[in-house]
C-alpha cells in the first residue's frame, strides 16, 4: 500500500516492519492489521500473551483544584469518588445523552486525572473537554508524547512481573501505578480490551521501542508475539466490548448500548443525565445485544436484522469468533427482541438470511 502524506508513524513502526506486520492507515496512523494471521494472533492472546501497539490512542490530562467538579460533570460513571490509583471506564455524553466518546479515567490524585481516549475522536474530545471545562481546570493533550503498549493474555502478568517486579501480580483489574523504566516515568495499568489478564502501559515515546523489544525477549518462552488490529477487534467482540464508531456514537445513549453499569444517576448532575432518566422512565426503543449465528454466515456492520417481515434492527459489529468457531455479532434491536434467547434473522446482503439468537455478555464464557 502506498504511503499517505498525512499518516503518522508510531514509535514502534520499525518493530512492526521487522516483524512482518501488514501495515494499514488507521485513525491517522500507519498500524499493523495483522502479522502471522488474525486467528493465530487471537489464539495467542487467549492462550499465552500478545503485545499490541495502541500508540494511536489519545492521552489527555485534567488538572487543578476544581478538576473533580469538571470530570464529574463530563462523565456518566463515578470517576471521582474512587481512590487514587484506580481506573474507571466511562462514556462521555452530550446533553442529549449521545456518546461523544468512551474512555478510561485514571485517577492520579484528587486534583488530577489521566484519560485515554479513542484515536479517531481525540481532537473532537479535546475540543469538547475545553469547551465544557469553562476554564475551571487545565486540560492538556499529551497524545504526541505518549506511546501505549497493551500486554494481554493469561501469561501477561508473569511477563510484566519479570520486567516491573512481583508487586504488579498483586494488582487487581483496573488499578494502576507509576513505574520507572530506563529513567522515564510510565503509567502501568491493569486495564485492557480483550477480556484477558495483563495491562496497558503508557510510555514516553523515547523508551517505547526499548520496552517493546524487552517484552518480546523476556516473553519468548511464554509464547509472546505481536498482535494486529484485526485480532484486537475479534477479541473485543467476543467480550461484547463496544467499539466507538461501530457500536456506539453521537446518536446512541449509554443505556441503549447496554452500559447501564457505567451510568451513576445518584452521583450528582452530569451531561446527559436528564435525557437518560427520561429514557429509563419511558422505556428504551432499542438495545445493543450480543448474538450468535446458528449455522453459516458472518454478520457485519450495517447488515439488517429481521423478525419475519419486520425490520427490527441493525448489526453494529460481527465476525467469525476464532475462539468459538461460530459467527458472532452485536446489534441494536427493538424490544422485546433484546431478551436473552430471542431469535431473529440477519440479512446477509440479500443473499440469504441467517438465524441468530441473543446471548448474555460476554459472548465467550470464562469457563470455556
Amino acid at each position: 500500500m502506498s504511503s499517505h502524506p498525512d499518516v503518522k508513524r508510531t514509535a514502534l513502526y520499525e518493530e512492526h516492519v521487522k516483524a512482518g506486520g501488514k501495515l494499514v492507515p488507521f485513525a491517522g496512523f500507519e498500524l499493523p492489521v495483522q502479522y502471522e494471521g488474525i486467528a493465530a494472533e487471537h489464539h495467542r492472546v487467549r492462550t499465552a500473551v500478545g503485545l499490541f501497539d495502541v500508540s494511536h490512542m489519545g492521552e489527555i490530562v485534567f488538572r487543578g483544584p476544581r478538576a473533580a467538579e469538571v470530570v464529574t460533570r463530563l462523565t456518566t460513571n463515578n470517576v471521582t469518588n474512587v481512590k487514587p490509583g484506580r481506573a474507571v471506564y466511562t462514556p462521555v455524553c452530550r446533553a442529549d445523552a449521545g456518546i461523544v466518546d468512551d474512555m478510561i479515567f485514571y485517577k492520579k490524585s484528587d486534583t488530577e486525572w489521566f484519560v485515554c481516549v479513542n484515536a479517531s475522536n481525540k481532537d473532537k474530545d479535546y475540543a469538547w473537554f475545553v469547551e465544557q471545562t469553562h476554564g475551571d481546570c487545565e486540560v492538556i493533550d499529551l497524545s504526541d508524547k505518549y506511546s501505549q503498549i497493551a500486554v494481554q493474555g493469561p501469561k501477561a502478568p508473569e511477563l510484566l512481573a519479570r520486567i516491573f517486579g512481583d508487586d504488579v501480580l498483586a494488582m487487581k483489574p483496573f488499578w494502576f501505578v507509576m513505574k520507572q523504566y530506563r529513567g522515564q516515568e510510565i503509567l502501568f495499568a491493569t486495564t485492557g480490551y480483550t477480556g484477558e489478564a495483563g495491562g496497558e502501559l503508557y510510555i514516553p515515546n523515547a523508551v517505547a521501542a526499548e520496552l517493546w523489544r524487552e517484552l518480546m525477549e523476556k516473553g519468548a518462552d511464554l509464547g509472546v508475539g505481536p498482535i494486529g488490529l484485526g485480532a484486537r477487534d475479534s477479541l473485543r467482540m467476543e467480550m461484547k466490548y463496544c467499539l466507538y464508531g461501530n457500536d456506539i456514537d453521537d446518536t446512541t445513549s449509554p443505556l441503549e448500548a447496554g452500559l447501564q453499569w457505567t451510568v451513576k444517576f445518584d452521583k450528582g448532575d452530569f451531561n446527559g443525565r436528564d435525557v437518560m432518566l427520561k429514557q429509563n422512565a419511558e422505556g428504551l426503543k432499542r438495545h445493543l445485544v450480543p448474538f450468535v449465528i446458528e449455522g453459516k454466515g458472518v454478520p457485519r456492520h450495517g447488515y439488517k436484522v429481521f423478525a419475519g417481515a419486520d425490520e427490527i434492527g441493525v448489526v453494529t459489529s460481527g465476525t467469525m469468533s476464532p475462539s468459538m468457531k461460530v459467527p458472532i455479532g452485536i446489534a441494536y434491536v427493538k424490544p422485546p427482541f433484546n431478551a436473552v434467547g430471542s431469535r431473529f434473522e440477519v440479512d446477509l446482503m440479500g443473499i440469504r438470511r441467517a438465524a441468530a439468537v441473543v446471548v448474555d455478555a460476554p459472548i465467550l464464557k470464562k469457563d470455556r
Binding site: I38, A39, K296, G297, V298, M349, I351
Partner: protein, 131 residues
C-alpha cells in the same frame, strides 16, 4: 502469483474453467483470496439454482471482511464443492483447483468470450496494483 493460462476471469476476481463440453467450474482468484486473508465461511448457490451473469450469487467471509461473489456467466448449478463445508480455507491454499465454488451447466458457451483471458487479467492486476 500464478494465473492459469486456460482460465477466463472477471474484473471482480472470479475465474471460469471449462471442465467438459458445456460444464464449467467457477472460483475465486489467487489475488482475491490473498487480499481477503483467512477464509472462514462460504455461501454458494445450490445444485439446481439458476445463476445470471453479473448477479450476486454468494458470499465469501474471511476473518477480516465479507465479499460478494458475482456470477461470471449464466447457467444452472450442477455441483457443489463439499470440501468447502469442512474447510473453506482450501480457497486460500488452492484457489484454482481444490478451492472451486460451484460447477455450472452453461447454455451459451460464447459468454466465455466476453471474459478476460489470463493475459488480460494479469494486465488488469498490474493496473490495480499501481493505483
Amino acid at each position: 502469483m500464478s494465473i492459469p493460462k486456460e482460465y477466463r476471469f472477471t474484473d471482480s476476481h472470479e475465474w471460469v474453467k471449462v471442465e467438459e463440453d458445456n460444464i464449467v467450474s467457477i472460483g475465486l482468484t489467487d489475488y482475491a483470496q490473498d487480499h481477503m486473508g483467512d477464509i472462514v465461511s462460504v455461501e454458494t448457490p445450490r445444485v439446481g439454482d439458476e445463476i445470471e451473469k453479473g448477479e450476486p450469487i454468494g458470499m465469501i467471509d474471511s476473518q477480516k471482511a465479507s465479499s460478494e461473489v458475482f456470477a461470471p456467466i449464466s447457467g444452472v448449478v450442477v455441483e457443489n464443492n463439499d470440501l468447502l463445508e469442512e474447510d473453506p480455507g482450501v480457497i486460500n491454499t488452492d484457489p484454482y483447483e481444490e478451492g472451486w465454488l460451484v460447477r455450472v451447466e452453461v447454455g451459451d458457451m460464447e459468454q466465455l468470450d466476453e471474459l478476460m483471458t489470463a493475459e488480460d487479467y494479469e494486465e488488469y492486476l498490474g493496473r490495480l496494483e499501481e493505483e
